[in-house]
Amino acid sequence: MLTVENLEKRFVSHVLDGKQIVGFSPISFTVPNGTAMGLSGPSGYGKSSVLKCIYRTYLASSGRITYDSEAFGRIHLTELPENQILALRRREMGYVTQFLSVLPRVPVLDVVAEPLVHAGVDRSEARRAAGALLQRLRIDARLHDTYPATFSGGEKQRVNLARAVIRPPRLLLLDEPTASLDAAAMRVVLELLVEMKQKGTTMIAIFHDRSIMDRLMDDIYNMPEKETHS
């Protein structure tokens, strides 16, 4: 479903007189449809940058990302027009980070329900589904109409995850979505991800927890050491 060929990311910092910073050295891997690929390696090897290049938050310096899209067929993500990337993000591609990226001053229930509303689901129905999902992720119903900015790190992460999975994407990018969860919450998240995979979602993920990697992943890609440019 997704093939990465000789993908490479270098940052050129004009603020620092054109200094080049290596994001990650050339990598290649293939993720078959319906499987999960784990990215592994020490911090600083550019695992998160790979996910950002796939999501197009980062522009790749060279190489190719080929993706078999439901809407557009076989496409190259690094060259796709921006409005098509946005369409993919709405319909096919989800991205969950360890940081809460949702909007301020929106009640958590609406934050989670929003992707469904965008997809044309009736607002009250979407909110009901969001409430059930949050319950399952052990976010107390009393918190559902509060703003997530006031939440703890672990609660924010679960809100992020709920928002990404309420309408299961075809391709899910996960960047340490369990980094600050307790064991009980982590079990629920794992359960949810296993279910999604069974229903056909393809995943590329970073987990520092090796046991999750082992239970969820079909394949592990070890990030190569960075070649340092002078």
């Binding site: 940052f11 050129v12 910092s13 004009h14 603020v15 950002k52 197009r56 938050t57 980062y58 522009l59 921006e82 409005n83 098509q84 990337i85 946005l86 369409a87 909007l103 301020p104 001053r105 929106v106």
Partner: protein
């Protein structure tokens, strides 16, 4: 997906112009003033598309030409060169029956025709409420005037539409008959937004709408714009020097400097992986 709005090589020059203007100005030259003929190129050869439902950001420092671009699109003054197309079939149906040929350059139309397009199909909100409102005329009257220009004739219907819009933009309806000069800055902006949306425009132009407001008021106005945009899905151009506004409202962004577009991309890419030296400086300058 087809764009609802296309702008091609839009240029606005103040001054006589000379054959060297384009070579001697721009982001690479570090100025928008031609050293030979002293003309100012407020914006030069600016081209972009706006898609249905989309919010596009235009960011840059003062003098970069970003406001000039949206005001040219609102026909506030004449461009020196450039073409501008609206394809209303690409977007959702709006209130007006005015038809526009998608291949017609709107700058080539008569002033009368352009005024009709502006009144019935476009809405603008300015940084300064004085530019968008008659501050001594009641809030309801301001909206009614706009409806009148768009061909509404029934006073009762105009009144109820004005009340509905003010309610939607969180302006207390009981203050509808008061002039906006009695209102706070944030409330004046909300009246402007109500007026801009009154004719169900196909394109909404927001020119530094929260600049100069208190932070808490800014947040409320931005939340309002965001929720209205989600509800109505009107294609919107947001001009701002504030990257926070860009992050909150837009999905794509154009970066302007010295009258030129120096970078364009997805908003998260512009903010997290800026390519152009000026964009990097801008992103690195956030407090």
């Amino acid at each position: 997906m087809k764009p609802i709005l296309r702008v091609r090589e839009l240029t606005k020059r103040y001054g006589p112009g000379c054959p060297d203007c384009f070579d001697l100005t721009g982001a690479g030259q570090g100025t928008n003033q031609c050293p030979r003929c002293k003309s100012i190129l407020a914006c030069r050869q600016v081209s972009f598309d706006l898609f249905p439902n989309e919010v596009l950001g235009v960011v840059g420092e003062s003098g970069s030409g970003k406001s000039t671009v949206v005001r040219l699109l609102h026909f506030d003054f004449e461009p020196t060169a450039g073409r501008f197309y609206l394809d209303l079939k690409a977007g959702q149906q709006s209130g007006s029956a005015l038809a526009i040929d998608p291949d017609q350059d709107l700058f080539a139309l008569s002033a009368f025709h352009r005024r009709r397009i502006r009144n019935e199909r476009m809405g603008i909100v300015y940084q300064n409420a004085r530019m968008g409102l008659h501050l001594k005329v009641s809030a309801g009257g301001n909206i009614a005037e706009r409806l009148l220009m768009a061909g509404w004739r029934h006073v009762g219907r105009m009144q109820s539409r004005a009340a509905q819009l003010l309610e939607q933009t969180e302006v207390p309806v009981r203050r509808m008959n008061e002039p906006p000069r009695n209102f706070s800055g944030g409330m004046q902006q909300r009246v402007q937004i109500a007026k801009a949306l009154s004719t169900q425009p196909a394109v909404l132009l927001l020119d530094e709408v929260t600049t100069g407001l208190d932070v808490s008021v800014q947040a409320r106005v931005l939340d309002l714009i965001r929720s209205l945009q989600q509800e109505l899905g009107v294609a919107t151009i947001v001009v701002s020097h504030d990257l926070g506004v860009i992050r909150l409202l837009t999905s794509r962004t154009i970066v302007m400097r010295h009258g030129c577009i120096v970078e364009a991309g997805l908003s998260d890419q512009i903010l997290e992986d800026p390519q152009h030296p000026y964009t990097q400086l801008l992103v690195n300058s956030v407090l």
